[in-house]
Symmetry: D3
Subunit: 91 residues, 6 copies
């Protein structure tokens, strides 16, 4: 069921893939219940054209809507993803 939902929904034309990933990253950061999936979708967002600064901005924006703890957890997840893509340790 998971695959068909992802396959079906992510390829529908009314919302482009980059916007979908931005929506998913924002929701996962706000909910804060799925660090592995948040890292996966931060990677996916970067792969479809979102910049690292754009990811950081999503997390800063989440501070306003979901509070600093959620935003800081999102920043930590992004920091790990950026480090892994650079082949280095996250600071």
């Amino acid at each position: 069921m998971v695959e068909s939902v992802f396959g079906d929904v992510f390829s529908r034309p009314a919302l482009d893939l980059k916007s979908r990933e931005i929506a998913t990253v924002a929701a996962l950061a706000a909910l804060g219940n799925a660090a592995p999936q948040l890292r996966l979708h931060i990677n996916a967002a970067l792969n479809v054209g979102c910049s690292r600064a754009g990811i950081a901005e999503i997390m800063i924006q989440m501070a306003a809507y979901a509070g600093f703890p959620a935003a800081l957890n999102g920043v930590a997840a992004a920091s790990e993803v950026f480090a892994a893509r650079d082949g280095r340790e996250s600071v």
Copy 2:
């Protein structure tokens, strides 16, 4: 403080305004604690170029990440906004 946060954050160049509104609509729908602000940002997203179908897609995507109740509440908020913009009652 609210104004300065919104003023500062929403005008930063690393994330365009349409992407910011998509992130905000997704997060508010996922959290489900602020129907008036969700309607406000659905309106804002429409004003900066997001289509109605795009808003609907965000809500469908939220079904996967935050569950059907959150998604259905988001669809109801969107339906009210669309109706208000058309000068008619929401169904």
Copy 3:
């Protein structure tokens, strides 16, 4: 069971009643799932010596930890309580 929990816990000496009400108001505002109980405990906090400005400060502080929507819902609840105590409509 409700009465015994409230009776037992609220009268224990290690945390004074005003501090208990502040903790309760903060938690209910952050969780955002119980507007009637939030109003009840805002009233109780005022009755044991918390000022209206103090209640407002709790809500502002919640913006940082639970996001603006939670804080604004808390401000709305406080505004209703203040108005009811003054025998007037909330604005």
Copy 4:
């Protein structure tokens, strides 16, 4: 932005620092999304005059408003902080 929010808000006179820390500890325990920040604010509450028994009472009170899992996570965080301040392992 984080610093200015903390600097501004924590020094406002309508709510004393001990009450602010109690509100923050209660909210972070109830939300349960930020163990490092919960430990930081338990330490801060102890530093401004809250007793260890008072911290424990906040967590017991959270059982009523946010459920036993949130309260038990809060007790675990407090236990780690108390042990660290005593220079010993948490049990």
Copy 5:
């Protein structure tokens, strides 16, 4: 998509329908973001053999895991459903 999920999942044999409705009522009461769907599933649980006292017990149990506010909201939803089935006003 909603229909196919409900159709598919609710008819799978490894979990009987009454147990599914109990799980759904408990989860919706704990999450607290969907009063209409909570009422719908309380009705469904009653229709497949759960007693009114059983529904009340689920809500009491939720007090332990999700806090009193969530439990009291669940009791209110159950009270409305019971009243509607009796053709009378909820108290």
Copy 6:
């Protein structure tokens, strides 16, 4: 207090023990704030007659009501419990 709540509530006759454990597993999976207690109650549910397939069905059902991240975390918790009962590593 914890013991008396568990002792009192779990032995009340209006809801059988298997149904109580199903409700508890569903709520803990939906809330997602207590992995150790979720594993404890998955074990308890298995001990009072719920099958492994039944536990898996609860988690699948949670995907609909609380989103895939909550469901996948629940599946991971169940997988660890099943492996521990078999005396092997979770995959």
